[in-house]
């Protein structure tokens, strides 16, 4: 027997102009995936940029101005990207086992993922406050395989104590967010006011990016 999250398709959104007006290829360019060879501009290095994108000659020419290296910004290629943050803290897990904010969050995330992936978009996700450790990261990718991986991740989500807030989750994923420039969906409860344990809590220093 297999258990899968409840996911409803969002075909009705195709009729909403605000959601579909940017679906044309020219408007939906992202900077992830196979990079095109067309050079666009030089810009200062930002956290998350790959080291190989640093233009060492240009950096050397402007040596002394500041310490920030310059990177080659290439013409983007690919389609629009989306990123989903899921709050899985234990305050989401109230109510009946079948219907509660946690289950509703999973359903919403699945529906959004199905919509964006069916449009050919790149999708990544991060579930913070996951039980028993750091958040669950789904590295960005596209296609049906990505949807299956997201479904697997959603199936295995367990709520945990609120150790991480959204800001920390964003910091954790910032490398991907810089590169993808995605539409960001954050699914949480805004009516919860809690004191995060820890000014003593030390932010994570490891990074999912190479």
């Amino acid at each position: 027997m297999s258990v899968a999250p409840r996911i409803r398709g969002i075909t009705r959104l195709n009729e909403v102009r605000a959601m579909t007006k940017n679906q044309r290829y020219q408007d939906d360019l992202t900077v992830i995936g196979t990079s095109a060879a067309d050079f666009r501009e030089l810009r200062p290095y930002m956290p998350g940029d790959p080291i190989k994108s640093i233009n060492w000659k240009a950096t050397a020419r402007k040596a002394g101005v500041d310490d920030v290296p310059l990177v080659n910004e290439l013409e983007p290629e690919g389609r629009k990207a989306a990123w989903i943050f899921l709050d899985t803290a234990d305050y989401m897990n109230v109510g009946s086992p079948l219907s509660n904010p946690m289950e509703n969050t999973i359903e919403a995330a699945g529906s959004l993922a199905q919509y964006f992936l069916s449009k050919g978009s790149t999708l990544g996700a991060y579930a913070y406050n996951h039980f028993g450790g750091p958040g669950e990261l789904l590295a960005p990718d596209s296609g049906r395989k990505q949807f299956h991986q997201l479904t697997q991740m959603l199936t295995e989500l367990r709520s945990g104590p609120p150790r991480e807030d959204l800001l920390q989750a964003v910091e954790w994923c910032k490398g991907f967010l810089f590169r993808l420039q995605p539409e960001v969906f954050t699914i949480t409860r805004l009516d919860i006011h809690y004191t995060r344990p820890g000014k003593a809590h030390s932010p994570r220093t490891d990074s999912p990016l190479p």
Partner: protein, 77 residues
């Protein structure tokens, strides 16, 4: 707002508030649980909107997620 900055130039930031409504054990006995949940969420939602994010208020007891999303998107037509 950090999230806005991280999302780069083109991406919108949308925060989906999942209402707990009367399913919340603590609020189940109180009349008007969903209203109380919405009222509690209002200051945070206002702060997020001031920061440039869109807030989608979703009350699962009343409507499915798709309906809430379509309602939100139609507001931006």
């Amino acid at each position: 707002m950090a999230l806005r900055t991280r999302s780069g130039r083109g991406g919108r930031v949308r925060v989906v508030h999942v209402g707990s409504g009367q399913r919340d054990v603590g609020e189940a006995q109180a009349p008007g649980g969903p209203e109380l949940s919405q009222w509690e969420a209002r200051p945070m939602a206002a702060a997020l909107r001031r920061s440039g994010a869109d807030v989608i208020e979703w009350e699962p007891d009343r409507e499915d997620f798709i309906a809430a999303l379509v309602r939100h998107m139609n507001a931006y037509r």
